[in-house]
Symmetry: D2
């Protein structure tokens, strides 16, 4: 057992993928909320969020979609806005040993809240 | 079952406290890293990080300690630095139903990394 | 002339206070946007933003007001929201030698934009 | 005179380019410090910082260089680190009417500080 494994011996592999995926989702949200974004820059921002966050422990693929409708409707002199949680739709795949989780961030209208939940874990 | 519970019916209560505690730890790190901090402002910063992050779903007590030794040794004209992950020691208590987790962030010298792990879950 | 002064010998004292105040306003916005906030935590957050940002070069008093009306109207299960630029009203006083500037951040309804401008410089 | 111009009638065009360039430099630093970065993701991160920050008022070209030497020497299990101010070398060009400024962020060893200064204004 290496040093890092010692810190996680109190949880199962399934719990580990939930743990690591959740950390990365919280991190993604709070790192990038506030970033200036427009139709011109949105794709570059999506790709760089994906490549930054997939560096974290146990993280595989990351998919980030920023709401184009909101960007199309920007109505100020400067043609950009600050990224908000409501504009984000994110999937984070985490893996450890034989386990895998898909963590989702999505704005849920009925909750009036950008909810983070576990789409699948197996 | 309310709407929010539907999103979490695929995981156990134990997994839920791990999930929510981990989100908040990732959030805390990436929200506040970079904040200017000195010996003068450190306590105000610790308390406001605690009260901000304890607002998140299922989060109870949050304890933030920023390394005073680093602050005492600041050696530049401006007497402050940007907060780094290495300076943080954090405990986040998450609760859901009958379950509780203590999530920890601590710089581990042997790993040369500010590690997030689960100190206890029960 | 010390080393730091060499980097600023190409601008006037009046330009210096504008420069330093503006840096700190941009920094404040992008450091703290996204922070969880509610009526319970708002005052602690205001005070810690003020004490953090007043550490920066040439910065004197900082006054942060977060819109209580928005916080009173929060309508989700979790009773908090992420701080946005629209909720902020900020004054930053910068000083250098005999000069002083007051930099303001305020949401301007007609511009649909949280505008940063110079309220006074003398 | 449009509405926005009214807010800036108390400063010269030269002061305006200093003001807007400085805001964007403070914003850039505090938005992106803490972002996970490695040799694999560094170029995507540089380009997306540039395209995000060039959206801000009066900003033209933005050049971001992240220190590859630091990334080559990463020595932890996860092969990435959190972006720090010391790793950044940035030039921001701001324009307004007939005036232009080049704002620079660079780590100055003698100051032990990532300094923001005005490289040129004309």
């Amino acid at each position: 057992m290496n040093l890092e494994e010692k810190y996680f011996k109190n949880i199962s592999n399934r719990e580990r993928v939930i743990f690591e995926g959740a950390i990365t989702m919280g991190a993604l949200f709070h790192q990038f909320i506030g970033t200036p974004v427009s139709i011109k820059s949105v794709e570059s921002l999506e790709r760089s969020i994906e490549s930054a966050m997939s560096l974290q422990p146990c993280i595989g693929n990351v998919e980030v979609k920023i709401d184009r409708d909101v960007l199309d409707e920007i109505d100020n002199e400067y043609d950009y806005i600050s990224l908000t949680g409501e504009m984000l739709d994110v999937k984070i795949m985490s893996n450890y040993s034989d386990k895998r989780a898909i963590i989702r961030l999505k704005y849920i209208k009925e909750l009036n809240y950008p909810l983070m939940y576990i789409e699948d874990v197996y």
